[in-house]
Symmetry: C2
Subunit: 194 residues, 2 copies
DNA sequence: GTGTTTAGCGACCGATCGTTCGGACTCTAT
DNA sequence: ATAGAGTCCGAACGATCGGTCGCTAAACAC
């Protein structure tokens, strides 16, 4: 049974467009800087037309985050799952991570990295979603590190450090070589310390 | 000549109180989340009474940042300048940095680390001030690294990575051992790679 | 055809935003 | 005592915030 009448395709497309624009704005001005009025103006829509798809601003923020998380998984996590567990998968995860940070498709860099800082000490569903994403990422790296014989906690900390570092080096300092430096650092962590 | 009439001490004290509260709010909700109305309510003042000390909201933000930067310099940079140039000073700078991140005196963690992400892709005086602060910090580390014979750019990247990592580990993941891990990582970067 | 469902609009809501202004008040210098 | 400087308040400004409501128009089922 098709529950959607009036051009379900159009509505989904509109929703996708709103989410894409919201993510783009959020990458520059933060998730709290995403405003219904500004979004409506940019998309030549009415405020109610925008908000109708999400109910509340928080719903819109969550939709934008979910979209970016799916993109992150598709570009970073899934390609690496074809590699053997342990060091091969770890290096693949890190390499894809750093490449993603250098080309997120959003004008303000990585939204997930920014959201981690923006919502780290707040409460609510947005914080919970962001915290869960990063805990998942940590669990993923930790599980692979256990196959290496390395100091799991120490290596996990050092690998987790490289992502934010790449983001800051690119966004704040304009260092386009950051991904290469991070890849080299990751190899030092994973190999030299064995 | 004392330019201030009516209780210069009182006015300065009021200004200090406002800045302290603004920094505390900003550490949790971001510098853009600092609101004149909320500030006035928290301090039992009028909005105009608050804003009168700074002229504009941006002036207030800059005053809060300047305060925190001065605190950072006093707690992190200056104590390390007594150490010999090169490795001794570098390890001291990093150790004080990581300890500072674990105890900033603000409820939401390190405001400078958060501001770097919040304003990295924006324009204006706040961005400029934050970018300058971090460029100064990079220049400081770089100057010391030149005395070590290490790969300056690579080591600089790896050391710069550890600060944001400590902040995220503490604020988002509640890892109170993060400063110790960062100190260990810094020693690996500075010694093993020689 | 008729009826139902729904995307999106336009008008509006109370609250809050940053900012301005005039005045009340307090202190200091003369 | 008087004048000036400066702190702070209270009221108000236009703009914008997130959100609600009733409506129209279009697509569907029948």
């Amino acid at each position: 049974m098709s529950l959607m009448r009036r051009s379900a395709v159009d509505a989904q497309h509109t929703r996708d467009t709103i989410i894409a624009k919201a993510a783009a704005i959020a990458s520059v001005d933060g998730l709290e800087g995403v405003t219904i009025g500004r979004l409506a103006a940019d998309l030549a829509m009415s405020k109610s037309g925008v908000l109708g798809h999400f109910g509340t601003k928080e719903g819109l923020q969550l939709a934008a985050i979910d979209r970016v998380i799916a993109d992150f998984r598709a570009k970073v996590v899934e390609p690496a799952l074809t590699r053997d567990r342990g060091l091969p998968r770890l290096t693949a995860l890190c390499d894809h991570w750093f490449d993603y940070l250098a080309d997120t498709g959003l004008p303000g860099g990585c939204l997930l990295t920014a959201a981690a800082v923006e919502f780290d000490t707040r409460t609510g569903e947005v914080h919970d979603t962001v915290a869960e994403l990063w805990n998942d990422w940590r669990r993923l790296l930790r599980a692979e590190l256990k196959h290496t014989g390395l100091d799991v906690d120490q290596c996990l900390f050092e690998l987790m450090a490289l992502g934010p570092a790449v983001n800051q080096a690119i966004q704040l300092h304009g260092d386009r070589k950051a991904p290469e430096r991070a890849k080299r650092a990751a190899r030092t962590v994973l190999l030299v310390k064995a």
